[in-house]
């Protein structure tokens, strides 16, 4: 089977304006790469074969972590290693630092970017292997047949497609109420992390709001949760180079033993990072302790619809939610 990329033209724009021009010129044939860790696999598989590849790693203004007062700005091209090493982020958002540090392997974190980590495509093996599924423009889901192997697939929000988000930083950014800045045609728009990720009911061919022509330029993490209690945990088969079976990200403010505010999200359970609203609402105003743990565990996966091989994610979600609560004690 192939592992040699198809032929394409490679462009290395030096500014966002130039990149925008290229995107406009090449339309549907344009494909943005940064670290390229997701893209090159698609190209080697020859499942995706854009003719114009635009390498944006030269856009220096999209690199770096800086304090902007109300928020911390992270350039979309900042590598995951830069996030791991950022003292600013370590101090304010250890949750994001931990999540970035659990992505794949050191080499991938050294070239893989935050933008790439949130924009990456799903790992559904049927889709990746080029099966003509809904997400690929077909009219079947091969991962949700009576005999399909779908251990890694979705518990919630399945709509024809049962793929899940593979991102570790995604749930962290959703918990942190981050905003994603997107450039297009010389203009920018801002979308909350929670709305940045989209499910199959919204558009089955995409994992995020990004459309052809969009460039994710920046992630803004508001200071709202700086200094709050933060928790991240990822459960995967291997401790390196693996995608989460389930991961959990939580931010919480606790005063006098009671939770005043909290946000919690899980990855690996649906197409987008899933807010655990049930858990959040039972925690708010309540005392941290054994009862909260028990209740969090009970409601975390409520509404889950298991497939053939993934019902283990139901107790696993509950356990991870309970552990997040436990971390507040």
């Amino acid at each position: 089977m192939t592992d040699v990329m198809h032929s394409f033209d490679l462009f290395a724009p030096a500014s966002i304006e130039e990149a925008a021009k290229l995107l406009d010129k090449h339309g549907k044939e344009a494909w943005i790469v940064a670290g390229g860790k997701d893209s090159f696999d698609w190209f080697k598989d020859r499942v995706k074969r854009p003719s114009a590849v635009i390498d944006i790693t030269g856009l220096k203004q999209l690199h770096g972590v800086s304090d902007k007062g109300n928020y911390i700005s992270i350039g979309a091209l900042s590598t995951l290693s830069e996030i791991e090493d950022s003292s600013l982020l370590k101090k304010n958002f250890p949750l994001l630092v931990e999540a970035a540090g659990r992505v794949a392997s050191p080499q991938i974190r050294n070239s893989g970017t935050l933008g790439g980590n949130v924009a990456q495509d799903t790992r559904c093996s049927y889709y990746r292997d080029g099966f003509p599924c809904y997400r690929a423009g077909g009219n079947t889901c091969y991962a949700n047949t009576p005999t399909a192997m779908n251990r890694e697939h979705a518990l919630f929000e399945a709509s024809r497609c049962v793929a899940v988000t593979p991102s570790d930083t995604g749930p962290a950014l959703v918990a942190l109420e981050a905003d994603m800045v997107i450039a297009r045609d010389g203009k920018t728009r801002t979308v909350s992390a929670e709305k940045f990720f989209i499910g199959p009911a919204t558009d089955i061919t995409r994992m995020t709001v990004l459309e052809k022509g969009d460039i994710l330029t920046e992630v803004r993490v508001p200071k709202k949760w700086a200094g709050a209690k933060q928790y991240f945990e990822k459960v995967a088969d291997r401790e390196t180079w693996d995608f989460a079976l389930v991961n959990v990200a939580m931010v919480a403010k606790v005063s006098g033993g009671k939770v005043s505010d909290v946000r919690m999200a899980c990855g690996g359970v649906q197409c987008t990072p899933r807010r655990l609203s049930n858990v959040e609402s039972l925690m708010k105003g309540e005392k941290v302790g054994a009862e909260m743990e028990t209740l969090a565990k009970r409601v975390a996966a409520r509404g889950a619809k298991a497939l053939n091989y993934n019902h283990f994610k139901i107790p696993l979600m509950g356990n991870l939610a309970a552990r997040a609560v436990r971390s507040l004690a």
């Binding site: 490679l10 390229g36 090159f40 590849v53 794949a104 392997s105 991938i108 070239s111 180079w241």
Partner: protein, 244 residues
Amino acid sequence: MDMSENWKEDVAESEEFDFPPDPADDFEWVPATKEVAGNMPDLPLETWQSPSTSRREFLRGVVCSGVAVSAASYLWAGNSSEARAAVRGVERLVTLNINGKNRRVDVAPNETLAHTLRYKLGLTGTKIGCNRAECGACTVLADNTTIYSCSTLTHQSRGKKITSVEGVAAPDGTLHPIQQAFIDELGPQCGFCTPGQVVAAVGLLKKNPKPTEDEARRALSGNLCRCGAYDHYLKGVMRASGRA
């Protein structure tokens, strides 16, 4: 050649014995329906190689034939400004800094750094184990940071100092302390992952000359070893860092 010797008799003193597979009659054969490649007469003395084919011509042949059709217009272009790259695509002829030396190479837009190193520059120490950024056998340093060269476009390495396993030892051949320590601790088994392990460990010591054992195993964790020699490699890193 007499291949009928029955060595199985030599070892058949007990039915309980696991016979090794016989390499010569392990399979039955069916003939090919057309010309049977295996039964072709011996090759004529004149082979495909014309005497005039020199190594230099061969190399040029490969470089030229690497031209992808859609990118042909960029071949051998003289102007290398970034603005041009933005509008018309990257230059194919690039200067790479490999192991401290500048090398001019013709590079296709879709070419990976591992491919350039191995097939254009003859640096075959960098291995391709998976070609998917999963195993680490292709690890090189880019400005002292470890990357998977199999999943990095060569064009993305322009302007960076690339170090492959061939550039780790001193110019006089003196081994890097990591290399010596891997020998002393019998790190390599099959050796296929070893160049990547060496480069990852060298990269670690550049950033953190006195790592803890835990820091070391995290730094090397992007390098698979199917022989499972992690223990020995880690001992090598600790020995090289003076903490053995």
